[in-house]
């Protein structure tokens, strides 16, 4: 299995606090990995450090190479806050932006955008700006906006935080249909059980466990020790 993401010796300090300690793991093609941990454990920080959006020490390789603009453009990243990535005057323009930017023709780009919106249950909202959607709808639009460029690795930060039960079910089904590698940060254990096969447990900025989702997410002692339940 070719690695799509390799992290070694990653440390991150924010202000005077050490938020990540010596994080190391790697993620292979098509692997679905959960990043689980209590509030403040460092999940978002880890994702940001992997993307190079925060200063950190250590090594990160994406698709076998050091991080680069090309490598990053093959990722699909959904931020914890969907408003950060939907800023164009309509959802359609939000979704077609990455496609047009890399030189695709407007016609096919538009088709892909509509398809992605339909996949997250937002058909009919193509002309609407993100500000006019509910928070959960915005989150779904943000997910569509990364699926549209067929990323080779999905990085999702709390994808279910604002979703109602049906949307969670739809997202679960959608993710399980995609053969693409993914790293999902969340504390929604049920959702992680259903969408991942391996789990990394983060506790106070360090990896406390790394194993099959079934056993890590089902181990109450382990989760309690990490302050999660």
């Amino acid at each position: 299995m070719k690695p799509v993401l390799e992290v070694a010796g990653l440390c991150c300090r924010l202000g005077s606090r050490t938020v990540l300690r010596n994080i190391g793991f790697s993620l292979g093609e098509g692997q679905a990995v959960a990043l689980v941990g209590a509030n403040g454990a460092g999940k978002s920080t880890l994702l940001w450090a992997i993307l190079g959006l925060l200063p950190s020490d250590g090594e990160v390789r994406i698709f076998g190479r050091p991080r680069s603009r090309d490598g990053l453009a093959r990722l699909g990243v959904v931020f914890q806050n969907p408003e950060d990535q939907l800023f164009m005057p309509s959802l359609e323009q939000d979704l077609t932006l990455p496609l047009l930017n890399r030189g695709e023709a407007p016609g096919p780009a538009r088709e892909k955008a509509l398809e992605a919106l339909e996949a997250v249950g937002l058909a009919g909202y193509a002309g609407t700006p993100a500000q006019r959607l509910s928070l959960g709808q915005r989150k779904r639009a943000a997910i569509a906006s990364v699926l549209v460029s067929s990323p080779s690795l999905l990085i999702l930060d709390e994808p279910t935080a604002e979703l109602d039960p049906r949307s969670v079910r739809q997202l679960t089904a959608l993710l399980n249909r995609l053969p693409v590698a993914r790293l999902i940060a969340s504390h929604h254990l049920e959702f992680l059980q259903a969408t991942t096969t391996r789990a990394l447990l983060l506790s106070e900025g360090a990896i406390a466990a790394d194993g099959p989702s079934g056993s890590v997410l089902g181990d109450e002692g382990l989760l309690a020790g990490a302050g999660l339940i």
Partner: protein, 136 residues
């Protein structure tokens, strides 16, 4: 970092400047003042011992209102700064070619969006303070 945070303020000041320019009613120092106040607040933010500031002042006094005002301003500047950073980073992540098609348009919409969001934030924040019994 500080340049990124300055971007929306500079845009705001530039729009103000252009509006004054085209309205033909003469220019004022307001655009420059905007930038100057922003820089002053950022610098003050580094030097003022914020944690201990509130505790020392008697609630209800003149000084208390000033401290409250400073805290609120600082709160806003930091939110605006963080949101600007995140939006620009999200935009950069989805552009494979930095200057490719859509680059300028998306930059303009991203910055305009930040201004819009900061207004919404301001209203929400004000409403929350009213509910808590602060504010007039």
């Amino acid at each position: 970092m500080i340049l990124r945070r300055l971007a929306p303020v500079l845009l705001f000041a530039a729009v103000l400047f252009l509006m004054q320019w085209f309205s033909g009613r003469g220019l004022t120092a307001l655009p420059f003042l905007t930038v100057a106040v922003f820089l002053a607040v950022v610098l003050l933010g580094r030097w003022i011992p914020w944690q201990s500031l509130g505790a020392r002042v008697r609630p209800g006094s003149r000084l208390f209102s000033l401290v409250l005002f400073l805290h609120i301003t600082r709160h806003f500047v930091s939110i605006l700064g963080q949101e600007t950073t995140r939006v620009l980073q999200a935009r950069a992540l989805c552009l494979r070619r930095r200057w490719g098609p859509g680059a300028f348009r998306s930059l303009a919409w991203a910055l305009a969006g930040i201004l819009g969001r900061s207004l919404v934030r301001a209203e929400r924040f004000y409403a929350a303070q009213l509910l808590r019994g602060l504010g007039e």
